[in-house]
Amino acid sequence: MADQATGETTDARAIRGDASECLSAPGEVALRAIKATAGYGGRAAVREVSIDVRRGELLAIVGPNGAGKSTLLRVLSGALTPWSGTVEMAGRPLGDYDRRAIARRMATVAQENPIAFRFTVMEVVLMGRAPHLGAWRFESARDLAIAREALDHFDLAPLAGRAIQELSGGERKRVFLARALAQRPEIALLDEPSAFLDMRHVAEIFGRFRELAERERIAVAATMHDLNAAALYADRVLLMKNGAAAGYGRPEEALTAERLSAVYDTEVYVGRNPATGALAILPIDAARRSRINNPRD
């Protein structure tokens, strides 16, 4: 983004300075987890996961319920400190940055988006500008323009004056994605961005983020349940099971029938969509058969 640095303080630019050269190269690593292990209480939810989130690409994190997808995202965002291993942003440990410096470069959209008071859609999207603004400053014309552009990106302009509580689940989700966009991040971490969305909006949202990844060189990491969406939109996929990586690479490498069957404990068919040639993943209805053959299931 050409105008990205203008709203920032000099120290933010200084932090970026040493990394900006390598970041401009294609596919350079924006965020990296190295053997990260983390969890809640005494139970590890993520075990020794190492991944790169690269600029200009969309990384999908998939796996069954409880595989540790959201926890991994929380580790990447700095919300959860790993017990062991590290997370690096632009080559530096995440702990070296203060929260504002992180917020200027990384946007996170949680799975659920509660909000306490009746803020309008526009107000929520403008919150994305907060890391770039001083405590006493009102949003400038440029901040407003960025927020409007983000609203337009997700077809939210007609809802700008509505209270967030009046929206449907899908509309609300799009508002929070627009807020992340208004943050003008280098890295976007999205937890289940396609939850609550219908097919058209799923396609649109992943399409938008793909486009942003390519055009603005944003590094996007998103957890998702829909394996076909992952195969369709992601450049690379991390397949998780029980907190550990079970497959990592381009969709056709990571999402093989063999791996998926093992990870999901169910027979999976992986083929090609005859219309587009894209990867098509379907469950095989083997549940009944396996129950007869294997009573322990």
């Binding site: 929380r74 965002s77 700095g78 919300a79 203060d98 929260r99 504002r100 992180i102 917020a103 200027r104 990384m106 946007a107 996170t108 949680a110 988006n113 509660p114 909000i115 306490a116 008071f117 009746r118 803020f119 309008t120 859609v121 526009m122 107000e123 403008l126 919150m127 994305g128 907060a130 890391p131 603004l133 405590a135 006493w136 009102f138 949003e139 407003l144 409007r148 302009a157 007609p158 809802l159 700008a160 004056g161 509505r162 209270a163 509580q165 009046e166 943050q183």
Partner: protein
């Protein structure tokens, strides 16, 4: 009020069918602008000025403001400057502090029902003040010890209620309110206990803490409360945008650059100082911090850059008006102002609780 009107307008505009693009002028109401802040604060400032003028002019003794202004030796002047003016100023200062504290605490716990009185913070402050007053009654520095004790006990109460309301690191709104209610009852009982063992001389002052009153404050007390109130307000204003972000939850606020724990500590300490100052001079005055921010939020929107200064002016006006009613309702006798605010506040609290319950049920 025009603020209310514009808020209504933008809601109804937004409620129109989607697909119709918003008119460029209309979009100026979708977010807080400096012009909207100025307009709303000017109106509230005018309301406050009118209320204070009325409170100065009315009372059990007949008084002419004109005579008081013209003739420095007149009894009118003596009543105005010696009795009514400090009382009105004290009402304004305490009301402003309580309403700002209410708005800040509501942001902090993401619940419109939070308030110093309901959360037991005022009760803690009153207990501290009463205890200090009795223990240190023979010391010369008792005037300074009482507010400090009120602040210390208020701070303790805040932290205790907040800690106890956290379940697995999450703040449960209902648990918070229940624990606040329990603390309130506990402090009330503790004060009654002291009341039953001390001599008659203290009994009146203890009742005064329990009911809340602006009776006969000194100018020095007024100055202390006003200074602490304004200082606290200025600190909170510096965090107004962070308080907005906190509405999204601790983790989301963190992702938007807020250092949540330092923010929370700041708000706790500042609000405890403000409540401690208010309680040490006027006892427990409940519900101001609930009613004023709630009404203003529904009229002006939830942005704390406007809500906090609006609560400052609105809280002052509301409390001065309540005190005026307390003075003239059964003149020449007086009602405790805390009873007036509680009489308005009780039904209002139930109303808000039911509204919140309905909203929670929908979500």
């Amino acid at each position: 009020m025009s603020g209310a009107a514009s808020r209504q307008t933008r809601r109804s505009e937004g409620a129109g069918e989607s697909g119709v693009s918003v008119h460029p002028e209309a979009s100026a109401h979708d977010y807080l602008t400096p012009a909207r802040v100025a307009a709303a604060l000017a109106i509230l400032g005018a309301i406050l000025a009118a209320t204070m003028l009325a409170a100065l002019a009315c009372g059990s003794a007949h008084l002419s403001l004109v005579t008081a202004m013209r003739d420095a030796a007149s009894p009118d002047r003596a009543i105005l400057m010696g009795v009514r003016m400090p009382r009105v100023m004290m009402g304004a200062a305490v009301g402003a502090a309580l309403a700002v504290v209410g708005a800040a605490l509501q942001a902090l716990v993401r619940n419109p029902l939070a308030e110093g009185g309901i959360l037991g913070i005022s009760g803690g402050g009153a207990f501290g003040a009463v205890l200090a007053m009795i223990l240190f009654s023979r010391f010369a520095g008792v005037d300074a010890i009482v507010p400090a004790a009120a602040f210390g006990a208020a701070l303790f109460s805040t932290f205790a209620v907040y800690r106890l309301a956290q379940v697995d690191g999450r703040l449960e709104p209902l648990t918070l309110l229940l624990i606040g209610v329990i603390f309130n009852a506990f402090w009330g009982a503790a004060i009654m206990l002291i009341n039953s063992v001390v001599n008659f001389y203290f009994t009146h002052s203890i009742l005064f803490w329990l009911m809340g009153s602006f009776e006969a404050p000194t100018w020095r007390e007024v100055a202390i409360v006003a200074a602490l109130g304004l200082g606290g307000f200025a600190i909170l204003m510096g965090r107004a945008r962070d308080l907005n972000l906190l509405s999204l939850g601790d983790e989301e606020a963190t992702h938007l650059g807020v250092e949540v724990d330092p923010l929370r500590r700041t708000v706790f300490v500042v609000t405890s100082v403000m409540i401690g100052a208010a309680v040490s001079v006027s006892g427990i005055i409940t519900f101001v911090g609930l009613i004023v921010p709630h009404v203003l939020r529904s009229m002006l929107g939830p942005d704390h850059r406007l809500l906090l200064p609006a609560a400052l002016l609105g809280g002052a006006a509301f409390t001065v008006a309540a005190d005026l009613i307390a003075r003239i309702a059964i003149a020449p006798a007086e009602l405790p102002v805390g009873a007036i605010t509680a009489l308005c506040g009780g039904p209002f609290f139930i109303y808000v609780l039911r509204q919140e319950g309905r909203r929670a049920a929908v979500l």
